[in-house]
Symmetry: C2
Subunit: 178 residues, 2 copies
Amino acid sequence: MATAHVFIATSLDGYIARLDGDIDWLLQRDDQTEDHGYSDFIADKDVIVMGRGSYEKVLTFDTWFYDRPVVVLSEQLADSPVPEALKGKLRFSNLAPGDVMEELARQGVRRVYVDGGQLVQSFLRDGLVANMVITTVPVLIGSGRPLFGALGQDIELKLVSSRCFPSGLVQSTYRRVP
Amino acid sequence: MATAHVFIATSLDGYIARLDGDIDWLLQRDDQTEDHGYSDFIADKDVIVMGRGSYEKVLTFDTWFYDRPVVVLSEQLADSPVPEALKGKLRFSNLAPGDVMEELARQGVRRVYVDGGQLVQSFLRDGLVANMVITTVPVLIGSGRPLFGALGQDIELKLVSSRCFPSGLVQSTYRRVP
């Protein structure tokens, strides 16, 4: 089986982006001299799965900074052609979280980085997330796209570690209690 | 002037209680052998201000465990008599957050512990919160009464300190950047 892993930043009030997708509040507070552990995190991941929201955000950046195969889960995009510049780097899929994980497992994938609020919520609801690295940014933005959402039942977590940075970020790693 | 201070626990998904006020998910994870710092926090507070939700929750406990004067801010309760057993321990008020802080300051109060989600949100919106100790419990409960709410503008915070406990609680202290 493949396992899903989350590495995501959130405002203290639990938003990963403003309602219009804006993450300036995050980028402004991202101290580039600090190593927040993304390289370590991604080192043992085989594939990145993201939702349409994250994909469209990433498209607005100048560079495609993923060095892993990317699967964009989106019913809306599933029948679209992949942009020429991104061929070989990503594919679209309209599979459900569990089905895409099974498909990836059949292809030999073991560890999947799941990015984006809606997708993290779906993967959590379906019991597919093995652990989460959550970085809390010291700001309240009042509204936005929430990291977490409704659940069928409580999800019990175990704190693996927690650290903070001079910039004020608090980064906690949780794993799901089976 | 008097300043307001928050000391509160929240699920990882940002709820201080379930929709019906239930906090069993919190009490189950409250390791009594750990010192989470409440005594240190309350030591220099003069008065506790809480909302009706918190008051009604506290009433369901066997003992009244506050050793500071309590003000319950509630339009609904403002004209009610204080229960006989609690006379001298609390009073009801229907003042707005800023007005009750001014009233308390005139009475010589300097530091106020503000408790309860709705009230914390009001005090934050009105710029009255000087700092917050937020203890994050390693569980996702999916829905409930949120700690934070809508804001007129971003609230910039500075991380003062962060620590974690063997039980998995992560406790971070933030102060408001003026």
